[in-house]
Symmetry: C2
Subunit: 545 residues, 2 copies
């Protein structure tokens, strides 16, 4: 039996385009002689559909699409993912299901039993856990079909109280198929490889795994669908961050093929590709082509400009230089060098006059009070007015350029540099920003050298440097990682050897910035713990440490 | 046996103040001769603690607090709520538990079995469902103790597959106690009354129910703890939106008392009190005293100013009048009348010069392009710069004044009038804004009459009226209610008799504004479906209708 894995880029709620992609892949697989073609979890509607699932109309449109797809399934079978209605009165109204379709008809339906409800996942918000388990028989082969998380309960601290495969294995299947929507983070590909290989070994079965690819607002799917033999050895790996369809032969209880080494990307390469795909799909799926961003001459905006130019084409990216009275000459030159290297567009709009007007307007109230964060923020907000005016006038999408270290400690101005439709670097620590720039410059200078070597500065007052108010980024990022990713207490972080006062200061800054982060744009997620839907902290609360 | 219900206002993560409140209530109840005092769900840490629960330190601090409280529990027993560790390796690491404490020791622990995971609730994100059920025996009385949602599975379309009380009833308890953290919405008090009464009737048992009171960022608890007899008749009702402690006598299998009528507030009265409490607790719990807001002379900012003056005292509220070249004279006069009626502070900062500067700065790029939404937004954003400058300079908290109708259709400027630390009216439709104003003026004019009778206008271009671009608010709000609260499709709404083109236009506006709403401040929740954590829509997605 020949089985095709179809790794596709879906668009949430776009039944027309998803159905078209799926049916084209069915025909493509048929032409390649496949007996069965396998699509990802919730492939019909895209993942995560969120509260679309609470609209009856949405679920009915999924069902309609499934019927259209089934009609194309002649001389080939397919497995697709979709939400289905729970026929029982008790329990939630929906299941997260996989249909097995053959000869134009749904021959079997499998319901996901283990529903991820952590980090960015909210599946128990919508779905009733499946609780009946049956293998599917097709062309004489007994297949154990499961959905994503159903295979993930095999670590030392299992999140669920049972494994669906423990039930299915009793029916003596010959092959496991798992359909997934498993988002990228720089650590996840490794975890995924191990979990799936462990399943093959534990149950002594070959395994075909198909993932989604493409970005859905902030959640990026990296593809990388996989095939394992019964010994848990990797036989094949579909490309990362790209659509693909590949056919495998299953014969005499075995997947044909020899073990290979995974072509796993380095963390920085993977983050790079993820961010480019994240930008590209944000624009494509929301129907925009042009990006705008503020260019300060600093490294964050330079990196975002480079990534956007790669994703959208430099002709679709406009950088706005907005020098204030505190901007150094080199800032402007560095930004101009970048624009030249990339070939993107730029405009120069100095903001000195604008900040002066606000100083004058507020003078009767502020009187002789000293210059402080209020005036610093006015500068950042004047810049936001200008870039947003470009956005509103020309239909450009504003890219936010704040990095994760800044987001974490609140080193940014709400309604100022924290503005934007999508945050490109909000899940990338400053130390990783440097690594990404070096990676981008690997074949020659794109990010100007001076941008990379000068000390980071917001240039909001004379001679200001980040280092005046923040520890060096190596130390800062290490502390932030322990608190945000590892959820350690200040006590535990201090015990690792960090300075006590510094740890307490950093954690206090992170906590105080919750109200700001609540109002930031969605952040492209590349780490196991990004700000946004994956990290839900009270705003008014008494914080620890 | 005498049982006290303690309805208290907790502060999330503030173990010191919560523990102090709880121990004071224990002593208070003891002085009143109570044998048992009952506190709300998760009373030790406040509700909802959200991802604080993922910090080991947080859970340990809950445990420490429980020990301190237990030490105070001599000659009286108490029931308190807290997260506890799941001793089993399988399943999630925590339970949502109730401790029964007697003689300084935890005598029994009950784990919540039905975990709400819809709307604003995310309990399955953290907790393993409880699955062992045992009554508690105290002073010869067998008590069926359950936690909030555990009693809510008795409607026609039950969300869960079983009822904990169906198990507990087999042990022949004489009394039900339910501890809750059940947030306010204008419909919820009625539902709650019915569900609890239905439980009393179904199981033929008296029921004591204790709720939290107070606001936690956007979620407002209204208190209103209740006592029912075995026939499901209401015996007593604690005050709404206030702390309270009251003692009941349970004797010979009965709660002593005669049936009463619920003193339920009207929807508008309840919303009024909820919003005042919401503002008050936001400031108190985050340690601020002074509010600032823009006053346009319109009804939304007038209402927010009145509510804030009631919550914080008019001496702690500063209204900023920021006329532009499009502001009418009456706008300024209406705002000044309001300030006079309320006795709050005000400043006048005209923005004409500021918008002029931006016109000039952008002229080289915008050239002769006609005035449009870009320039309208510049005005709104200049105002945001000014109110935020007050916030930054003086430590005032900016109150957002957008209403739910505007939020819904995106009739507002991101980083402009959509700015603020907390949105007071973001869950109040424009038609309800008028009702609230009439309610506030019930004993005399507070909101100026002219503010209430003039046609709504954003005054962003000459002679602009809301009615130029939006349908009348009665119709708009009716359509929005069907789409947002009822989740109806356009087809279903049109079938109700609304104009087809209008329905499609409104729904398209709502969908297109998702990206804006993602970046709005937390919204005080007073309806069953508020924007924010309770409504999670994809941003990049193809919307229906």
């Amino acid at each position: 039996m020949k089985i095709a894995l179809a790794q596709l880029n879906y668009h949430i709620g776009n039944f027309e385009s998803n159905t078209k992609k799926i049916t084209e892949a069915i025909h493509h697989a048929k032409r390649q002689g496949a007996d069965l073609v396998v699509f990802a979890e919730l492939s019909i509607c895209g993942y995560p559909p969120r509260d679309f699932l609470e609209f009856n109309e949405f679920v009915e449109l999924c069902d309609d699409a499934a019927k259209k797809i089934a009609a194309e399934c002649t001389d080939i079978a397919c497995i697709i993912g979709l939400p289905t209605k729970n026929p029982k009165i008790e329990g939630k109204d929906l299941y997260n299901s996989a249909y097995f379709i053959e000869n134009g008809e749904v021959k079997a339906s499998v319901n996901k039993a283990l529903l991820p409800n952590y980090d960015v996942f909210d599946e128990y918000r919508y779905f009733e856990p499946g609780n009946g388990f049956n293998c599917i028989e097709y062309k004489g082969v007994k297949i154990a079909l499961t959905i994503c998380e159903d295979l993930w309960n095999i670590n030392d601290n299992p999140l669920y109280v049972f494994n669906p495969m423990d039930v299915l294995i009793q029916q003596k299947p010959e092959l496991m198929i798992n359909i997934a929507a498993s988002p990228f983070d720089y650590k996840h590909d490794e975890d995924r490889m191990k979990v799936l290989s462990d399943n093959s070994k534990k149950y002594g079965l070959p395994l075909l795994y198909v993932n989604q690819v493409g970005s859905q607002t902030e959640i990026i799917f990296d593809g990388g669908s996989l095939a394992f033999n019964a010994a848990g050895e990797l036989l094949d790996e579909l490309p990362y961050f790209k659509e693909a369809l590949r056919v495998y032969e299953f014969k005499d209880g075995k997947l044909i093929g020899s073990p290979i080494q995974s072509a796993t990307l380095s963390d920085i390469e993977a983050i790079h590709q993820a961010l480019v795909l994240g930008i590209k799909d944000y624009f494509q799926k929301s129907g925009f082509t042009q990006a705008v961003l503020g260019l300060s001459g600093g490294i964050d905006s330079a990196l975002v400009c480079a990534l956007a130019s790669e994703a959208l084409g430099p002709e679709n990216v406009t950088g706005i230089l907005m020098p204030s009275k505190f901007s150094s000459d080199h800032s402007i030159q560095d930004a101009l060098d970048l624009v030249k290297n990339l070939g993107c567009k730029h405009e120069i709009v100095p903001i000195k006059e604008a900040t002066k007007v606000f100083d004058r307007l507020l003078k009767p109230v502020f009187k002789e009070l000293p210059f402080n964060v209020a005036e610093e923020n006015i500068q950042a907000r004047c810049r936001a007015i200008i870039v947003m005016a470009f956005s509103n006038k020309f239909g450009y999408i504003l890219l936010n350029t704040s990095n994760k270290s800044e987001c974490a400690v609140g080193y940014g101005t709400l309604y100022g540099d924290m503005a934007g439709a999508i945050s490109v670097l909000g899940d990338v620590y400053k130390t990783q920003v440097y690594e990404l720039c070096h990676h981008i410059n690997r074949n020659g200078e794109i990010i100007p050298k001076n941008t990379m070597i000068k000390p980071p500065s917001a240039e909001l007052r004379p001679g200001q440097k980040d280092a005046d108010s923040l520890p060096d980024y190596d130390t800062l990022d290490s502390i932030l990682f322990q608190y945000i990713e590892r959820k350690k207490s200040s006590k535990a972080i201090i015990a690792q050897g960090f300075d006590e006062a510094l740890v307490k200061q950093v954690i206090a800054l992170v906590n105080r910035a919750e109200f700001k982060r609540y109002q930031t744009p969605p952040i492209l997620r590349v780490s196991p713990k990004a700000f946004g839907m994956g990290r839900r902290m009270p705003i008014v609360g008494k914080y620890l440490s």
